[in-house]
Symmetry: C2
Subunit: 138 residues, 2 copies
DNA sequence: CCTTGACCTTCCCATGATGGGAAGCCCCAT
DNA sequence: ATGGGGCTTCCCATCATGGGAAGGTCAAGG
């Protein structure tokens, strides 16, 4: 695929309505116009930038809408950035905790290991943190 | 669940062999020993630290093995940190690219938008980057 | 003209970790 | 003993993607 999107994914995107049905030859093969290829490339690139497929629908609509407001595009991008940064923060917290544990582990032939010791702890008693909700349930 | 693991997940972990089958009462209910609860808490905490379920099997084996070497535990943790950092880097690159695009977007009522303009570009011509393989295929 | 191989199509299944919901038991308190 | 709130299993959905089977199609070479 010249667009960087596999045939499987094109079928999937058509099914889910992200993209319109692509024209077919008389024998059933998909025939891609230049515009189709461009659209698929657009989708591909948006995925690479972390947009969920669902949100790409909105991007495509703006892309096609010649009278769009660039503010709408910018807002989608900004929300995406915020989401990416949320994920980054979560991963960083994991890595940092693990790093602290690993640093305090001797890493030799002895069995004592603060990493394992930490893992079996009840973390709910350990860190009060913030309260998302009355955590009673769960 | 006192362990922070839902019943659904316990079933799943049993099915996939991550944890052994938990004892049942005569009527089929799971009966959790203190050790079971501790084990489930261990799994939960390891998940929270980003370990894939598959790798938690190895952690559990080390946890149970009183003659383990702490170096083995530390190695798993170190690999996990590296993996987390790989993911963080990927997300940071996405966020940074998007941020650059958003910065250059006026964000007003005009339709011109460098974000959309970038998305429809063929990124393969844009960045030579590294060469993973004769990218001919695909 | 017919075969062959490469490519396309659809359909079904799998991934990883989790939740939702239905149908059906079971247990305890009233 | 009855009702409500456990628990159980089984099936389906998520999200984006790939694998593979079965079958149609196309172009090139004999």
């Amino acid at each position: 695929m010249a667009s960087g999107v596999s045939a499987k994914m094109i079928r999937y995107y058509e099914e889910t309505g992200l993209i319109p049905q692509i024209k077919r030859s008389s024998s059933g093969y998909r025939v891609y116009s230049d515009r189709d290829v461009q659209m698929l490339r657009f989708v591909r690139r948006a995925r690479d930038l972390g947009f969920p497929v669902e949100e790409i629908g909105g991007l495509l609509a703006l892309w096609r809408d010649k009278s769009r407001h660039s503010s709408d595009v910018k807002q989608l991008a900004t929300e995406r950035i915020a989401e990416l940064q949320r994920k980054i923060r979560a991963l960083e917290e994991m890595a940092s905790t693990l790093q602290t544990l690993a640093n305090s582990c001797s890493g030799d032939s002895r069995p004592e290991c603060p990493i394992l010791a930490d893992l079996e702890k009840d973390e709910r008693l350990a860190k009060p943190r913030h309260r998302p909700e009355p955590t009673a349930a769960r």
